[in-house]
């Protein structure tokens, strides 16, 4: 069957299935199980209102449990196992982890990930804040914001092609088509560089892609936060003779600190999971490996599920502090 047709049928079946479930289950509850009639009408109504939330929640809980909660546990278990002959998995304790930590490629991935975590959120938030502040009162600010925000819609893979064009190197005696080498030669560089093959620095060239994508996100949120600052505080500062820089760093930034933290952590999480950029641009060669790509390598190239799962658990471990912090804040807000 043609996949498009299959897709269409699935949409119809899926959507009508969902609607059918909600309609049917509520109908069942109202008309059959606890009808609003007969001798126990009061008890029936209160009982069905006890059950109804769970009818509404059931598909979501099922999907969340199966696709997010269960895998965390299953991956944890897998990371302590090794697949022996005949696909039999045996418990090996921390062996996968010790083996992994002994691998230079893993340590390289860890080192790079730390580098990414330090640079990308800081740079993206910084640029975002700068863009938000500069465009704030500009007449064409919205157009400017729109353009800076645009990379968000571009896939990491598309961005990889876009930046490959920038980093491209041609032989010395012909015209450079990569703008980076063009500028490098223009400002006194001697030979064109293969930017993505220079260890250590090449990670920064990959980070530039993510920063380029994430800055718009930071800008949009921080720009809304800047707008939310009470005018009086700024007017008071102006009257007191503060200069624009003082107003920005001493009055505005402290007031939006909460939002800056949210943006920072959100980009941190995106950075931790970065896979596509490295996969498409260098595939971890020339010392650019990161955890997510290392894990993919272990899972689907080396076919080592134990170590792949262990690598995934490391990513989870790195995310956990942010997870706890988010949950803590959400609970505080609800009270």
């Amino acid at each position: 069957m043609h996949p498009a047709l299959l897709g269409l049928i699935t949409i119809v079946v899926g959507v009508s299935g969902c609607i059918g479930y909600f309609y049917g289950s509520n109908l069942l509850l109202d008309k059959v199980l606890f009808p609003a009639s007969g001798p126990n009408i009061g008890r029936n109504i209160s009982r069905r209102e006890l059950i109804r939330p769970w009818l509404f929640l059931f598909p979501a809980i099922l999907a969340l449990g199966l696709y997010l909660a269960y895998p965390v546990v299953a991956t944890l278990i897998l990371s302590f196992q090794e697949r022996g002959a005949g696909g039999v998995r045996t418990f090996v304790g921390f062996e996968n982890y010790t083996q992994m930590f002994a691998e230079p490629k893993f340590m390289e991935a860890m080192r790079n990930n730390v580098l990414w975590l330090v640079v990308v959120p800081a740079a993206a938030t910084g640029f975002g804040l700068l863009a938000a502040q500069l465009t704030d009162r500009l007449r064409w600010g919205n157009i400017a914001k729109s353009i800076i925000f645009m990379p968000m819609a571009i896939s990491f893979v598309g961005a990889a092609v876009i930046f490959k064009l920038i980093y491209e190197a041609r032989p010395e005696d012909v015209a450079q088509i990569g703008v980076l080498n063009h500028l490098y030669l223009l400002f006194g560089g001697d030979t064109p560089q293969q930017w993505l093959t220079i260890p250590f620095w090449n990670s920064f060239f990959l980070m530039a892609v993510l920063i380029w994508i994430q800055t718009g996100f930071a800008m949009v949120i921080l720009s809304a936060a800047l707008r939310g600052i009470p005018e009086e505080t700024i007017e008071a500062a102006i009257i007191d003779g503060a200069n624009p820089f003082q107003i920005f760093f001493k009055i505005k930034v402290p007031q939006i600190m909460g939002t800056i933290v949210v943006v920072w952590t959100t980009i941190t999480i995106a950075t931790l999971k970065v896979f596509d950029i490295v996969f498409a641009m260098t595939n971890g060669q020339w010392e650019t490996q990161v955890l997510a790509n290392y894990m993919y390598d272990k899972l689907f190239r080396a076919n080592d599920w134990g170590m792949g799962s262990a690598a995934a658990m490391i990513i989870m471990l790195l995310v956990t502090p942010i997870l706890v912090w988010n949950v803590y804040n959400a609970r505080k807000e609800m009270r």
């Binding site: 996949p3 299959l6 699935t10 959507v15 309609y23 939330p53 598909p59 979501a60 809980i61 999907a63 969340l64 696709y67 997010l68 909660a69 269960y70 895998p71 991956t75 863009a131 704030d136 400017a144 353009i147 645009m150 968000m152 819609a153 571009i154 896939s155 990491f156 893979v157 598309g158 990889a160 092609v161 876009i162 490959k164 064009l165 920038i166 012909v174 015209a175 088509i177 949009v220 949120i221 936060a225 700024i234 624009p244 939002t259 959100t266 999480i269 931790l272 999971k273 896979f275 596509d276 996969f279 498409a280 689907f300 599920w305 799962s309 989870m316 997870l323 949950v327 807000e333 609800m334």
Partner: protein
């Protein structure tokens, strides 16, 4: 800031210039891909795309017409070949200088006559017409070489798009990837919205024990890296017989998209006016009625913003498709995978790569610009609250 910067023109100028620089910096990479997709492979590899926007000075090496076929005798023993070197490919070229040897291509201005020795001479005019004159021996063999320093206007072609979209072989792959991507994206966008809308309503407006715990769980699941889910779910899909395929990828995208969907929609629904819902309850509306008749229509902006998020995310996704969809037959490839493949195998074919990549990002960009309002609103609801 109004009071400060509004009065000093220098500050306003500085502000405008810095924003222009910032915008240019952010637009430049995408523009490069866009412009490159309209250049021939020869153009892409011979000069930077930024140069193609302006007329460029180039040295062309051309040849006069074959004298044995085109010469005619004006007077006894004097032969002439006339023609136009710019005919055809170079119709819009403007000649700056020209010459007859590769060492000195800038010897003559247009309209000058070059003395080629022994009475042989060549005259080249600005419009490309030339007169080549000499005796029968000189005007024979191969046509006289002409070196022209010329200003060539920007030139673009849509041929790449024709190749990628409509040529046998390429187009099948691209069209297949395009439709496969759509097949993944549409159900993977609609289904989580439906499921999440109901759950979000229950979490926002129904009272039941454990509600706070559930909300906290959703917030926690928001950041769980989907890398964790790959193996257990692949095992699960194999165990229930789905294997790799559309059903699996739809379910995976639904599961991964749900936390954000529920979170966004709940945040929005909580903000709806309490009066409306309570009045409806007093008037005897049942919960399903309140949900379908009041909550859903009012939540349209939030539904739209999640739909855009999920659309962009599933369209641009590579990892989930690689793991849950694309099998060894390659029949179910998606756009992102197709581009990665091109990057690997045809990294040198810039025109194909650039054009395919632009085709793949065109749809999300279109959605982005049309629905930006909702996207921004969704981002704000998801992060600031």
């Amino acid at each position: 800031m109004d009071g400060l910067s509004g009065k000093k023109p220098a500050v306003v100028w500085l502000l405008n210039i810095s924003v222009v620089v910032l915008v240019a910096l952010w637009l430049f990479p995408t523009l490069g891909l866009f412009v490159s997709s309209f250049r021939t492979s020869e153009q892409i590899t011979s000069s930077g795309w930024w140069a193609s926007l302006f007329p460029a000075e180039q040295t062309l090496q051309l040849r006069a017409l074959d004298p044995d076929e085109n010469r005619f005798e004006t007077s006894a023993g004097v032969f002439v070949v006339e023609g136009n070197v710019l005919e055809g490919d170079y119709a819009e070229v403007a000649i700056d200088r020209w010459g007859t040897s590769s060492r000195a291509p800038d010897s003559y201005a247009t309209g000058d006559t070059a003395d080629l020795g022994d009475g042989e001479n060549m005259t080249l005019n600005a419009d490309g017409t030339y007169v080549w004159q000499g005796n029968g021996e000189q005007i024979s063999g191969r046509g006289q070489r002409l070196f022209i320093i010329a200003t060539i206007p920007p030139e673009f072609t849509t041929n790449n798009y024709r190749t990628v979209l409509f040529t046998e072989g390429n187009s099948e792959d691209m069209a297949k990837a395009f439709f496969n991507t759509l097949t993944v994206v549409i159900p993977a966008t609609i289904i989580p919205i439906l499921i999440a809308a109901f759950a979000a309503y229950a979490l926002a407006w129904m009272d039941f024990p454990g509600r706070a715990l559930l909300i906290a769980t959703v917030v926690g699941l928001l950041v769980v890296p989907l890398q964790l889910a790959l193996i257990p779910l692949l095992q699960f899909h194999n165990a229930i017989g789905i294997g790799k395929g559309y059903l699996g990828v739809w379910m995976a995208h639904t599961g991964f998209g749900l936390p954000l969907a529920i979170y966004l929609l709940r945040n929005y629904m909580v903000g709806l006016p309490r009066d409306i819902i309570e009045n409806a309850r007093v008037d005897g509306a049942t919960e399903p009625q309140i949900f379908t008749k009041i909550i859903l229509p009012l939540s349209f902006p939030a539904l739209a913003s999640f739909a855009i998020f999920q659309f962009l995310w599933t369209w641009n996704d590579l990892l989930v498709a690689l793991v849950f969809l694309i099998d060894s037959s390659g029949e179910t490839t998606v756009m992102t995978k197709q581009i990665v493949e091109l990057l690997g195998t045809r990294g040198g074919d810039w025109e194909i790569l650039a054009t395919s990549a632009f085709v793949s990002i065109a749809v999300p960009l279109l959605v982005f610009f049309l629905m930006q309002k909702y996207l921004v609103r969704g981002l704000l609801a998801g992060s600031v609250k």
